[in-house]
Point group: C2
Chain length 491, copies 2
């Protein structure tokens, strides 16, 4: 199975677009709150058997995952009768490379994030490095994703705020703690060092897990983890500005065309038959009735493109004859991106999205685009309207400062320079989420590894012997050397 870069791209973009959907300000002519349901595809459940054999293009080893369910407690932080309910938390382990507890061989744990864990079973660094480290490989699914559903199933778990209320990042971290404690006990591996890994939201969890549970892990690789995208630590337009920079780096003219297109489309939209004309030009599945829903779709296209295929999108835009107008060029790019299929503008299913729940509760990521800052149409972040939307759609009110209260982030260099150790924050600077990442070393052992060319989660993707650029190989090598040092120091 070859690595699908879009898997990470999707996640990355979803993180943002869902924020946009909720967070934009309805006042003052700025965009209102709508959404895009195609983004939710990634959340659909993929049922696999509990024993999965993966094959890889350049494989020398065939990972053999054993699937288990841990009987997990619903609420680690309360002792009400309800809190004692349990659910099956799924995890997979691959023992085939493990040196065993008698050798204190390491345990590599992938902390699942906002996706069915079976989508993550090809984490490259594990497949590539487990044999070398003689590591036990463990993948733990995040509660309320995949099959790790309280209350009997997704329909029940997602039915209302009472059942969804235990769906939080703190509970997820405590889940990982209890599974790791149990697993080490079962395997008599109490003395084996555990290293945790995660990407994107999972990278945030990995960093937080090392900070909150240092007794259960000796170190964390947090790939593309925007742990600073809370409160006002990162400018709200950080994400958009990296996308904009990515486009300019590839094609200044492409950037300028996107930048100027919004005003032009505004003009068309406000003319008689304008929305109908745009609908035909952009091949929307239904006629455009809300301009913002349509703009979101275009934004999503640019954001996806910012991950992997700038050139092709820009080519589709730029290769038309010189007299073609800008809006038609944008339409050509959109049609290219959608491979001729119609553009779906229907709103997302808020109720069934795990990620929307998370950003409506403890992960309030503030994203907006003040006028003139980037190539995107202007938007502002207004917490009150964001919160109102969460309440209307999901019956829940976000706690906007909880993430920084619980996990910190402000002034991180001062706080962690003499506190904590053994975290790698890896970021590719082409990844828009890198704007909220840790990009400079904090201390000798809390380090940042950045690459100019890197994209979202690229370092932990499955390595390709022939195609990977030198800088990517070097980055991975750096990470492996550091992890090896953690293990040596532990022993």
């Amino acid at each position: 199975m070859e690595f699908h870069p879009l898997k990470f791209g999707f996640l990355c973009t979803i993180l943002l677009v869902m924020v946009s959907v909720l967070g934009v300000d309805g006042h003052g002519g700025m965009r209102s709150t709508l959404g895009n349901n195609r983004l939710l595809g990634i959340f659909s459940e993929k049922i696999r058997s509990s024993r999965i054999a993966h094959s890889h293009a350049s494989t020398t080893s065939m990972p053999l995952y054993e699937g288990y369910n841990y009987t997990q407690i619903l609420d680690h932080f309360a002792y009400t009768p309800e809190s004692y309910q349990t659910f099956p938390q799924r995890y997979f382990i691959d023992k085939s490379h493990w040196g065993g507890s008698q050798n204190n061989s390491p345990i590599f744990v992938w902390l699942g994030a906002e996706i069915d864990i079976t989508y993550n079973l090809d984490v490259g660094i594990f497949i590539d490095q487990a044999p070398r480290f003689k590591a036990l490989v463990v993948y733990i699914e995040h509660r309320y994703y995949g099959t790790s559903m309280p209350f009997g199933g997704k329909d029940e778990a997602y039915s209302n705020a009472s059942t969804k209320g235990y769906f939080t990042s703190t509970q997820a971290l405590a889940d990982y703690a209890t599974v790791i404690v149990d697993l080490k006990k079962t395997l008599k591996a109490e003395n084996c060092p555990v290293v945790v890994f995660g990407g994107s939201y999972g990278g945030m969890l990995a960093a937080w897990f090392r900070l909150k549970y240092p007794h259960l892990t000796i170190g964390a690789l947090a790939s593309s983890a925007p742990i600073l995208y809370f409160d006002n630590i990162t400018p709200t337009y950080g994400y958009y500005s990296v996308v904009t920079k990515d486009f300019r780096d590839v094609s200044e003219i492409c950037y300028r065309r996107v930048n100027e297109s919004w005003d032009m489309m505004d003009k068309i939209a406000s003319s008689p038959q304008g929305l109908l004309n745009l609908s035909m030009l952009f091949n929307t599945c239904e006629n455009i009735t809300d301009k913002d829903a349509f703009y979101y779709e275009l934004e999503y296209m640019y954001m996806s493109a910012a991950q992997y295929n700038f050139e092709k999108i820009c080519n589709a835009m730029n290769s038309l004859p010189g007299d073609v107008d800008t809006v038609s060029r944008i339409a050509a790019a959109a049609n290219y991106a959608h491979k001729g299929q119609c553009l779906d503008l229907s709103p997302p299913n808020f109720t069934y999205s795990g990620w929307i729940w998370q950003i409506c509760t403890d992960l309030v990521i503030r994203v907006s685009n003040p006028p003139g800052t980037t190539m995107f149409p202007p938007s502002s972040f207004d917490f009150n309207s964001y919160a109102r939307n969460c309440y209307l759609k999901l019956g829940v009110y976000p706690r906007q400062h909880w993430a920084t209260t619980e996990f910190g982030g402000h002034d991180i260099k001062r706080v962690l320079k003499d506190f904590g150790s053994n975290i790698i924050f890896s970021n590719g600077l082409r990844d828009p989420w890198s704007s909220g990442g840790v990009l400079a070393n904090i201390s000798e052992s809390i380090v940042a590894i950045t690459t100019e060319e890197g994209t979202h989660g690229q370092d932990i993707a499955y390595p390709s012997a022939s195609d990977d650029p030198v800088w990517l190989k070097e980055q991975r090598q750096k990470e492996i050397i550091i992890i090896q040092k953690w293990i040596n120091d532990y022993k």
Copy 2:
């Protein structure tokens, strides 16, 4: 107001006796589960006005506390509709010495524990050192104690497991985090360094707070904090063995008399009229029907004595004529300790005890006395019977490994030697709880300060200029120098 050493002694003993009450094994002739309600006196609410003026024997300053209620959220870790309920969390601040936010003057925060916070407003190190450090002094009450009651009041909050279910140490830590964030914001003191302090259970909270919330505090003084009295980290008889050693150090003959008395009393108890005779001899308020309830009362006397007044108890025992039998000597000591009042053997009010709830939920402290280890009557710790009692009395089932899963403790030196910083673990080795404390330095800045002669929480008690021994003054000086260094390093 002079310092009342028994205030801490009481707490300390309560911590243990409540464990004994629940934890002993009903099998095999060992003691069954009963209790002693007088211990709960300390939990009774003491209502004071929100503005309290303290006077001190040797005062140069008169602390002026302003009382506030923070509107605290019921459940930080869930997003159910219930979790959004609020309660008034009480805190007191004394601004009179504060150098102000413009000078980044420090904030000293006392983390309330299992007691009405107004009992703690004379924490010595604050009163003594706040002027020197120009510190803002803050005392925050622990949820479910004092007036910081969810659901409208203690009757409601304590009525059943559903309302009590949010009464956990993790929620309490998150409470402190939110109050500190709010207070710093209100006072525009975001850049002022916060140092947290606590004693006994509060000392555990202080250490854990520094470990879990390093972004909100630069360091913690954890006085007499038995953070290692979980799972099997500390031997279950650690507490009893320190009490035993304390007695032997004072009087070997006193120790021997206590040690031999249990068998003698067993013999009396098993004879006809034996319990009646013991009742008369020991002046019990009601006739003894359960020998164990009576033994608990005596144990409690020894444990209290182990804090502060070994000599007097032993004197009462030893000063009788040579031909007086051992059991009568024990009775004389008991009558001395109770100042002629009758010995109350009625069982504790489990429902109204905050501390019993805590040890029946997340703080499972394992205490017992294997035969032959100490001067106390033998008992064993059996988790199943402990849990059964919690369930019968309170409708809740303890999570026995939660404390170490969430807070660690196993192999603490390895875990924290390169992780974390700025914690003082202070312990007096005459304090029975020191058996579960951190007694050796972990790293350069996670340090243990122990004193041979010290008792429970003595370092943070109000200093007496004339009476304090040199070693105690030196201990306090060491702590103050370290705290000053934290603040200097921060600045």
